[in-house]
């Protein structure tokens, strides 16, 4: 995809982010941040490509595998801890 379309998407995504996140109440700001960590783990798609490509040197194998491990850590850790926190928010009565 050419640069200008990517910048187009960038601009609109930033607006989308501002619109969505400004509606999250301060009550949920900590889970919001861990959710952001989890989705930031989307770097895993880049990491998978790096670790799974052919003709790797030892350096790129190491970098790719480490990237997969780190991104998976973010995804799994982020979603699970968000779930753990959100489960605690209860309304009584």
């Amino acid at each position: 995809m050419d640069l200008i379309s990517q910048l187009f998407i960038l601009a609109l995504s930033i607006f989308l982010g501002f619109a969505l996140i400004s509606r999250v109440p301060p009550l949920l700001h900590t889970p919001l941040m861990s959710e952001a960590n989890a989705i930031c783990g989307i770097i895993i798609v880049g990491a998978l490509m790096a670790a799974g490509a052919d003709a790797n040197s030892p350096l790129t194998i190491f970098l790719g595998t480490a990237a997969v491990a780190l991104a998976t850590f973010n995804v799994v850790g982020g979603y699970l801890v968000t779930e753990r926190m959100l489960k605690m928010f209860k309304k009584k009565g």
Partner: protein, 459 residues
Amino acid sequence: MNTVFVTNFVYIISSVLFAFGLKFLGSPVTARRGNILSSIGMLLAVLATLFNGHIISFQWIAIGVIIGAALGALVAFKAAMTQMPEMIALLHGCGALASVFVDWTAYQVHGTVDLTNTITLYLSIVIGGLTVTGSGIAWGKLSEKIPGKPILFTGQKWFNVGLITAILVLGVLFILNPARHDLFLAILGLSLVFGVFIVIPIGGADMPVVISVLNSYSGIVACTTGFVIHNTLLIVVGSLVGANGMILSIIMCKAMNRSIGNVIFGAFGSVVKKAAGEKKEAKAISVEDAFLVLENAKSLVFIPGYGMAVAQAQHAVRELSELMEKNGCDVKFAIHPVAGRMPGHMNVLLAEANISYDKLLEMDAINPLMETVDVAIVIGANDVVNPASRHDKSSPIYGMPIINADKAKTVFVLKRSMATGFAGIENELFYYDNCRMIFGDAKQTIQALVAEFKSSQQH
């Protein structure tokens, strides 16, 4: 069918699911559904990538996934809610490091194809590098592995200016000679060093801002990596996370009446001004007398701060609040935006202690009600209830929005001693006529009050 088309189509679905996930976080009722939708989006993106035909060997992927998933699950279940800020800092750092490694691999395998590619690669490793070590230091400070106090040395400013200049100069050289791996590594190394020096001068009380800014950076890095490897999904998600961190940073700064630049370059805690003026006497009260006041109170507001988390007093607080409610008292909790070590920290701690979330009120919601409140109990908070911020122009926290604890008919302040708060500022609230100090460990004090209530009910 064309696999590129299929992969990108799935990426679009993932983006939509991520957006819905954030939208559903708008209310505690729908939030869990949002988290599940978001995780489905992630799973789809991963599957689409795994089977897009570009991936030839799966062995290293399997090893990475197993290690990452095991550690992620372990940390997510083990971390106590008081440790949430450091866990978040750790996740920021890991996300940024993953991005840097992806950038590095791309550079190692393909080099850079054009000028834009080189520039985005440069930005990506600079922001990524400083986010990795910045988050590491933030994690260390939050988990108290390194001192939370600002670390300052003479010539710090010039050292930082030198670092920035070096990163910029090397950047220009790298953009002119994109094939030079030594420049790439030098830039990455200096960015890692820079991250350390950005965070060490920042004190514990400013951590909510630091965490929010690092959150924003971790998003920006995902975004720039998206440009480097031409992946639109990374650009979309990176922007969402970047916007998230930016909004939270702005909220935190407003709540402290400071600019982001002031937090990052100001070193708030470095200048401890001794408040001059006549020595006044704060009035102490015993637990027994405090109980008599509470017994007759019709409305009670708790104002918690980080000290409550340190004392692990939240469960005792919940017990006291339940007894007060049984006694016909209306109980609420007033949460200042910067109470705790990260945005929303107090809410999570109180939710964990099983306190209904509709009792947790934001500063702007509680302040108009404060004059009608019989008793306000300040527990482990200090600067966020200091009335000096309203009128004392010489005070470092002048102009900071506070919870108007002083407006309540009676204020109890639970405190270990008369020592000043983080910013080292004298709190004039303690000397007000309606304020009484209950000295001692906050948890033990609350437990003593609970015991008083229980023994009075038996008679």
